[in-house]
């Protein structure tokens, strides 16, 4: 049983569109009728994905605030009415050794940029009379995870930002929701060299569905939350974790 939440008529800006979950999300949203606007740090994958989806793209560094402003203005000129804040980075180190520079960079990309994109999106949409949807990609690690304290804190921030922005932007008919993926099959969690295989088996034991999620299974949550089928859903964080860390 599959549902195709129609996204006909939506123009959606996706950040981190060249990444594992980002590219699959862009493809899914496009397949359901949305027009896509793509952004990421470098041109390579972005250009080929843009060609594949007949989507315009723009390279932007999300730790540069001027570039964020220009990016959202660019998207607004192209009719953007939905935003998927997907771009994110992680830095691994035990808390007692966690480098200041890594903390700053993770918080800047994963949390501050999400705020700035949300703020500028809201400005643009309100100027056009309101309406729209934002979906933030959080992570189940907002409930705690070892050796990545900045990531954990940034995702907790994204969850709170989602709820606060939902309250504040509802009167402008902008819904704000998030997806919190659990373990997801990507290059990072399942490298070809098999170096993660033992960890994967151990992790799967703790996942009620006994498997990692596919990027497609995150993308289909994003599609639902943007669609009109979720018209009474705002401030919600959907856990797509196979039942892990309920």
């Amino acid at each position: 049983m599959t549902i195709t939440n129609s996204l006909e008529g939506f123009t959606i800006l996706v950040t981190g569109a060249a990444g594992g979950i980002g590219a699959v999300t862009a493809r899914t949203l496009s397949a359901r009728g949305a027009r896509l606007l793509l952004t990421d740090r470098d041109t390579g994958i972005l250009a080929s994905l843009g060609a594949e989806l007949a989507a315009e793209y723009r390279v932007a560094d999300l730790d540069d605030r001027n570039q964020i402003t220009d990016l959202v203005d660019w998207a607004d000129e192209r009719g953007m009415d939905a935003l998927v804040n997907n771009a994110g980075i992680v830095s691994m180190a035990p808390i007692e050794d966690f480098p200041d520079a890594d903390w700053d960079r993770v918080i800047e990309i994963n949390l501050t940029a999400v705020h700035l994109l949300t703020r500028n999106f809201a400005r643009c949409r309100i100027a056009r009379g309101g309406g729209g949807a934002i979906v933030n990609i959080a992570s189940m690690s907002y409930k705690g995870m070892t050796r990545q304290i900045a990531y954990v804190a940034s995702k907790g921030g994204v969850v709170s930002l989602t709820k606060g922005a939902a309250m504040e932007l509802a009167r402008h008919k902008i819904r704000v929701n998030a997806v919190a993926p659990g373990m997801t099959e990507t290059e990072m969690t399942n490298p070809a060299d098999g170096s993660q295989d033992r960890l994967r088996l151990r992790m799967m034991e703790q996942i009620p569905l006994r498997r990692y999620g596919e990027p497609q299974e995150i993308a289909s949550v994003v599609a639902f939350l943007i669609s009109r089928d979720a018209s009474y859903v705002t401030g919600e964080v959907i856990h797509a974790s196979g039942g892990a860390r309920l």
Partner: protein, 251 residues
């Protein structure tokens, strides 16, 4: 209704489906080609709902019965399954409420509310477990934002909190078999039941203006969330309580 899906012929059981949210859920599944088994207490009410679905070209059957009765539940599930004994979706929607402050909250109220709202879904899940496994199916429990507390509704609130916990427990148990279990937590929904009580309707509309989205939900908005959770689009979502409450609770 913007989503299309292939649910052709899939057997779905919806309890409390004679009216309101349950009927909207039944219509939503019916419109996607499911074979909808409609349960409610009064057979005449059930027949009317079945006729309403058939009028729209949907496939529906009547499975009346009292879900607080363990033996009735076994029969309801058996009739709802397809010829191979499979059940694709169980929607536990039937619920009752009794408004009364604690001092006047009769033991009988408490027992009846818990029997229907919490024990009923337990009976049905237990009766349907094999049929759900066979179908790699899904359970969607209609809990409520009231699980977070509403004045003078102690039995209702406790039953819905319990239903969220039951959802999580069953998600852990059913997960390895690929059966997903989730709940939907509606806020205030603009149903006929709400409209029939002028005082309650006025109160809820006033309350709704204080919600972030500033309005009551339409029953169809709850139904779409149920449909989505039951579908393959939610294939990595289990044990979750999805709040469809206009931004009210934000757990």
């Amino acid at each position: 209704m913007t989503c299309q899906s292939d649910m052709s012929g899939r057997p779905v059981l919806v309890t409390g489906a004679a009216r309101g949210i349950g009927l909207a859920i039944a219509h939503a599944f019916g419109a996607r080609g499911s074979r909808v088994a409609i349960n409610d207490r009064d057979p005449a009410d059930v027949d009317r709902a079945v006729a309403a679905l058939r009028e729209k070209g949907s496939d529906a059957i009547a499975v009346p019965g009292d879900i607080s009765d363990e033996h009735a539940c076994a029969g309801i599930v058996a009739e709802a399954c397809d010829g191979d004994g499979r059940l694709a979706v169980l929607v536990n929607n039937a619920a009752i409420g009794r408004a009364a402050a604690l001092a006047g909250h009769k033991t009988d109220y408490w027992r009846k509310v818990l029997d229907v709202n919490l024990t009923g879904p337990f009976f049905l899940a237990r009766a349907a477990q094999e049929a759900l496994r066979q179908a790699h199916g899904a359970i969607v429990n209609i809990a409520s934002a009231a699980a977070y507390g509403m004045k003078d509704q102690c039995s209702y609130d406790a039953s819905k909190g319990g239903l969220i916990s039951l959802t999580r427990s069953l998600a852990l148990e059913f997960g390895p078999a690929g059966v997903r279990v989730n709940s939907v937590c509606p806020g205030f929904v603009d149903t006929e039941m709400l409209k029939s009580d002028a005082n309650l309707h006025r109160h809820s509309q006033k309350f709704a203006r204080s919600l972030p989205l500033g309005r009551l939900a339409r029953p169809e908005e709850i139904a779409e969330a149920v449909l989505w959770l039951a579908s393959d689009d939610a294939s990595y979502v289990t044990g979750h309580a999805l709040f469809v409450d206009g931004g009210w609770i934000r757990p």
